[in-house]
Every structure is written in structure tokens, then in C-alpha cells.
């Protein structure tokens, strides 16, 4: 089980806060991500997305070895993680390794630091991302990632049984570092004392595969989320979106997980209903035909995705939209309204 999170500290109009967003192998219990796939900071009644405004993102790696992983090996895995996100077209992301440092990955030093920390108190948390942000604009001023060396780690190319894969977890945390929240495109099952991942179609799913598993490639859902934050006009002109509502007994459902599946490409992109009227928008969809499915948020703790203020309704059955939805290039398919019934 892994957790990843973030924090931000105030200086002038900067404010510090802490997120722990989790990749959990067995449990998920994490402070809040703000909304669908993106982290944000409240400004009055609105929310500003957290994002870097200046590139390349310069980062340091803590010069500390742990059993099975040297600091240079960690740096190489982190570099591959940054490269995987930067490879997403039409986002303009870039990064630069600034060097090794003796500093731990904690906030307040005006440097983005990634490294191992020993945190036996966080026995369900594999990694965490913390932030310093400009609370006026949402600009990320500093972000730090720690991987919890309480766990056993590996950089083996094919993964290593019994050890967590550094690149997979770093990739997830670097997603947070860029402002992504959690995806719920995954299936889990409960077992004694925890939750086990059966499948996931996003590296931003909050619970990691069991030790030894690898998850090193951003999927369509991750790409859509990152592109929603950093995408340029090319992205917006070549993709489309859909919008609608999820209702039960005539009233909106909050926290419903809506999945758009494109049978022609096999890609899935999802979102949540985030307002009392059950409204949702899924952006970053490839133009074409989509099947739309809605399910309750029941594969991880709701706190892994949404603030506690959201009154999530998970008491409904899985349902499908009765029409095939055609997403237009550069436009929106509207009125995708799903009706669900209580379990």
C-alpha cells in the first residue's frame, strides 16, 4: 500500500498545506485530493488548479541509498518518471536534474527534492508529495516527494517480488507533483485488514499493485488529466468532451464515477460528479463513439479522491447510458444524463 501526498507553506501569499495521496497495496486512507484528477487550492468560492508555470522543473535527489536502491539508481528511475509525463504531447512539460543533495525531501527550502525518508509511522504510505503553492494563482513553487524506506524497494527492470518498484511509485508521485489528483479507474477487493488491487487503468490510481508489480506508463486517463492542466490549443482542438448529470430519484448524485470508453481505441477516461446536481464533464476524449458507465465510488476510501465536505452517495447500482455518445472534435457532447437506482 502506498500513499502519496503534498503540502504547501505560506510565505508572502504562499501557504503551506499537506496532502497525503496514497498508493496503497492493502488500504487507502489519505487526506483529500480536491477534485477529478487535479489538485487545487481554494480561492474564495473557486478553485485554482495547482500547476507549475515555469519549465523545466528543476529537481534534486537526496543522496541517500536504501537497501536495494542507490541514490543514482533512484535518480535514474525518477528521470524516467519525469520523461514519461513529458512525453505526453501538447503539454510542454520538461524537467531537469539539478544534482544530488544532502537535504531531505521536505518543504521550505525552495528546492524540489525527491528522495527516501524512513517513516515507520506511515505504515500504509509508500510515497507522498508535498507542495508550497501560491494560493492566489495555484502556481506550484516547490514540490517534494519522499518514498518511504520502511518498505523494500527495487529498480529491477521487470520488478522484483516482494519489493516495490521505484519507477512505478515515482511516476505516480511525479503525477501529483505536476498537479494531478487521483484516478478511480481501478478495481479492488477487500481482504482481512486491507484492500487489494485487482486491476487499474491509471498510474494515478491511489492504491499500488502488490509488491513486485510495475505500473510505469501513463494511461489515457492520466494523459487526459495532465492535458487538462497543461494542454495547449492543439490538445483542445483535437480532443472533445462530454457533459451530463447522474441522478437518482430525480436528484443529483455526488461522487459518482463516470467512465467513458472508446471501443475503437480501447481507452477509458473517467471523472466524478462533483456538484449537488450530479453534473460531470469528461475532457480530453478522442473524437468518436463512446460507451458511458457510471459506478459508485467503492474501490477505495472516498477521502482518497474527494474532500470530506463532499457528501458522496455510493448507494446505487452500476448503470450504462442508453445511447452511444459521439464526442466531436474540439466540442462537447452534452446532456449525457444517466439515471441510477439504489442498491
Amino acid at each position: 500500500m502506498t500513499r502519496r501526498g503534498g503540502s504547501a507553506a505560506s510565505a508572502r501569499h504562499k501557504r503551506m498545506f499537506v496532502w497525503t495521496v496514497v498508493v496503497a497495496a492493502m488500504f487507502a486512507s489519505a487526506p483529500a485530493a480536491d477534485a477529478y484528477l487535479k489538485l487545487g487550492t481554494r480561492i474564495g468560492t473557486g478553485i485554482a488548479n495547482l500547476r507549475f508555470n515555469r519549465f523545466p522543473v528543476r529537481y534534486f535527489v537526496t543522496n541517500r541509498d536504501v537497501p536495494g536502491v542507490t541514490a543514482p539508481q533512484l535518480q535514474q528511475a525518477v528521470e524516467r518518471g519525469f520523461a514519461s509525463w513529458a512525453a505526453i504531447p501538447n503539454t510542454g512539460l520538461s524537467s531537469q536534474f539539478a544534482g544530488f543533495t544532502g537535504a531531505p525531501p521536505v518543504n521550505g527550502d525552495n528546492a524540489n527534492v525527491i528522495g527516501f525518508s524512513t517513516r515507520p509511522d506511515l505504515d500504509r504510505v509508500l510515497g507522498s508529495t508535498s507542495f508550497t503553492v501560491d494560493t492566489i494563482t495555484g502556481e506550484i513553487l516547490e514540490a517534494d516527494i519522499f518514498l518511504n524506506s520502511t518498505f523494500a524497494w527495487s529498480v529491477a527492470a521487470a520488478g522484483e517480488p516482494g519489493r516495490q518498484d521505484v519507477e512505478s511509485i515515482a511516476l505516480h508521485e511525479i503525477g501529483h507533483l505536476h498537479g494531478l489528483g487521483h484516478s478511480m479507474l481501478g478495481e479492488t477487493e477487500l481482504f482481512a485488514g486491507g484492500r487489494r488491487v485487482l486491476g487499474a487503468e491509471a498510474v494515478m490510481f491511489p492504491i499500488a499493485f502488490a509488491a513486485g508489480g510495475i505500473n510505469r506508463t501513463p494511461r489515457a486517463d492520466d494523459i487526459a488529466g495532465l492535458s487538462d492542466i497543461y494542454g495547449n490549443d492543439q490538445f483542445r482542438n483535437t480532443t472533445g468532451s462530454m457533459s451530463g448529470r447522474v441522478t437518482k430519484n430525480g436528484t443529483g448524485v455526488v461522487g459518482a464515477h463516470v467512465i467513458a470508453f472508446n471501443p475503437a481505441t480501447g481507452k477509458m477516461i473517467a471523472t466524478f460528479t462533483l456538484s449537488d446536481d450530479g453534473a460531470f464533464v469528461i475532457a480530453g476524449l478522442e473524437p468518436g463513439l463512446h460507451i458511458v458507465r457510471v459506478e459508485p465510488l467503492d474501490d477505495a476510501d472516498t477521502a482518497s479522491f474527494l474532500e470530506a465536505s463532499f457528501k458522496v452517495d455510493a448507494d446505487f447500482k452500476v448503470a450504462y447510458y442508453t445511447r452511444i455518445v459521439t464526442v466531436p472534435r474540439g466540442g462537447t457532447a452534452r446532456n449525457v444524463d444517466l439515471t441510477v437506482t439504489a442498491k
Binding site: 479507474l185 481501478g186 478495481e187 488491487v197 485487482l198 486491476g199 487499474a200 487503468e201 499493485f209 502488490a210 513486485g212 508489480g213 505500473n215 494511461r219 472533445g240 467512465i259 470508453f261 471501443p263 475503437a264 480501447g266 477509458m268 473524437p287 468518436g288 463513439l289 460507451i291 458507465r293 459506478e295 447500482k317 452500476v318 448503470a319 450504462y320 447510458y321 442508453t322 445511447r323 452511444i324 459521439t326 464526442v327 466531436p328 466540442g331 457532447a333
Partner: protein, 218 residues
């Protein structure tokens, strides 16, 4: 001298006489034929796909399965033809239909009931054909072949797919009346091949269709 003149004049006089054969007069070069009617287009497999999630192992986790099918359905057809000779005509055709694309969603990982999810497609086919006619009676069999341009839009006109199309087939025309201007009935079976169209999977498909209508020759 007189004999030669008669020989020359008689054929001309014969040509000027009304046609009195046992068959209706055959069309000639420049004859026009207008037609219209209904057609029925066959359904076809529109592709299938699994909504898969990655697992720690090699086999994916399938969230649900989609099987697509374009359902068969009716449409309208119009033809305008011009005869290039007694047996051969060139024809422009226009087909319009609104078939239903249906996705059968099954095997939901969380045991949701199987459902059918539909979408209406608007389909236009503009084509040109050459027809070769056999016989000269009331019942005139013919074969045809040609190519065209297929244009399909989904119900919100948000998605447009176009494709070249080729087709071949045959049928019969049954002419009523004996004049050079006459109505007839037309039945035709066609196989239409196209490599694109609104579907979950793009591949070459052969779609059967049957046309029934009336024709007017003049």
C-alpha cells in the same frame, strides 16, 4: 434508276413507322430512365472491444465487453440513368438511410445486467453505375457495377466518416405498356464494399442491399 430509288426509300419509310414488334420498343442511345423506391440494407458486425484494466499479471481485468452491430434497415433510393446504347446505360444513384448502430454491453465486472446501447446513423451513398441489360421483352434482366462515395453521420452530426465504395449486383426491370415512354418495376440486389463507416472497428465490409421501386423510361 427507279429500282435504286425504291431501295433507298423503303428502309427510310420503314423506320418512320410506329414500332409494331411483339416486345416494347427497346431504349436507344440517349433514352433516359428515372427511378425511385425503397431499399433494405443488411446489417453487419460493427466491431467489438473489451474495456480492460491492467493487472499485475499478464491477463487484463475486463470491466465490460462491447459487441457492436449495425442493424439492418430500410432506406430510400433514387436513380437517374441515360442509355449509351440499347443494352448499356450509365446511372447515378443516391441512397439515404438511418440505420441503428447497437452496442451490446455484457460481462460487467460488477455484475450489472447486460444492456443494449443504441445510436442512429445517417447514411448517404452517392454512386455511379454501368448497367448491362439482357433481352428485350417486358422482363429485362440486368447486371450492374460501379463505385461511389459513402458519407455517414452520427445522430448529433458530431462524427463524420466518408469512404469510397464499390458495388456490384443485378436485377430485373418489368416494363408496363408498349410505348417508348413507359413505367416499369425494378428489383435489384447489390453487394456494396466500403472500408470505413461509423462503427467500433474500421475494416473493409461488404453490405448486401435490396432495392425495389418504379422506373420511368422516356
Amino acid at each position: 434508276m427507279i429500282g435504286i430509288t425504291l431501295l433507298l426509300v423503303l428502309p427510310a419509310a420503314a423506320a418512320a413507322q410506329p414500332y409494331r414488334g411483339v416486345h416494347p420498343p427497346p431504349p436507344h442511345k440517349g433514352s433516359l430512365e428515372l427511378g425511385g423506391g425503397v431499399f433494405w440494407a443488411g446489417g453487419y458486425d460493427a466491431g467489438s472491444a473489451d474495456a480492460n484494466e491492467t493487472t499485475a499479471g499478464t491477463a487484463p481485468l475486463t470491466l465490460f465487453v462491447v459487441d457492436g452491430r449495425m442493424k439492418s434497415g430500410p432506406g430510400a433510393a433514387v436513380q437517374v440513368g441515360v442509355y449509351l446504347g440499347r443494352r448499356v446505360s450509365a446511372e447515378a444513384t443516391f441512397h439515404y438511410s438511418r440505420p441503428i448502430l447497437q452496442a451490446r454491453v455484457t460481462s460487467d465486472f460488477e455484475s450489472a445486467p447486460d444492456v443494449n446501447v443504441d445510436g442512429t446513423v445517417t447514411s448517404y451513398l452517392m454512386a455511379g453505375s454501368l448497367l448491362y441489360h439482357f433481352g428485350r421483352g417486358r422482363l429485362v434482366p440486368f447486371v450492374s457495377g460501379g463505385g461511389g462515395y459513402l458519407r455517414q453521420l452520427n445522430e448529433s452530426n458530431a462524427d463524420l466518416l466518408t469512404s469510397p465504395e464499390i458495388h456490384g449486383g443485378g436485377g430485373v426491370k418489368y416494363w408496363m405498356g408498349r410505348g417508348s415512354r413507359r413505367f416499369g418495376l425494378r428489383l435489384e440486389a447489390l453487394a456494396s464494399a466500403r472500408h470505413k463507416g461509423i462503427a467500433f472497428e474500421q475494416k473493409r465490409r461488404i453490405v448486401p442491399s435490396f432495392v425495389a421501386g418504379i422506373a420511368y423510361l422516356f
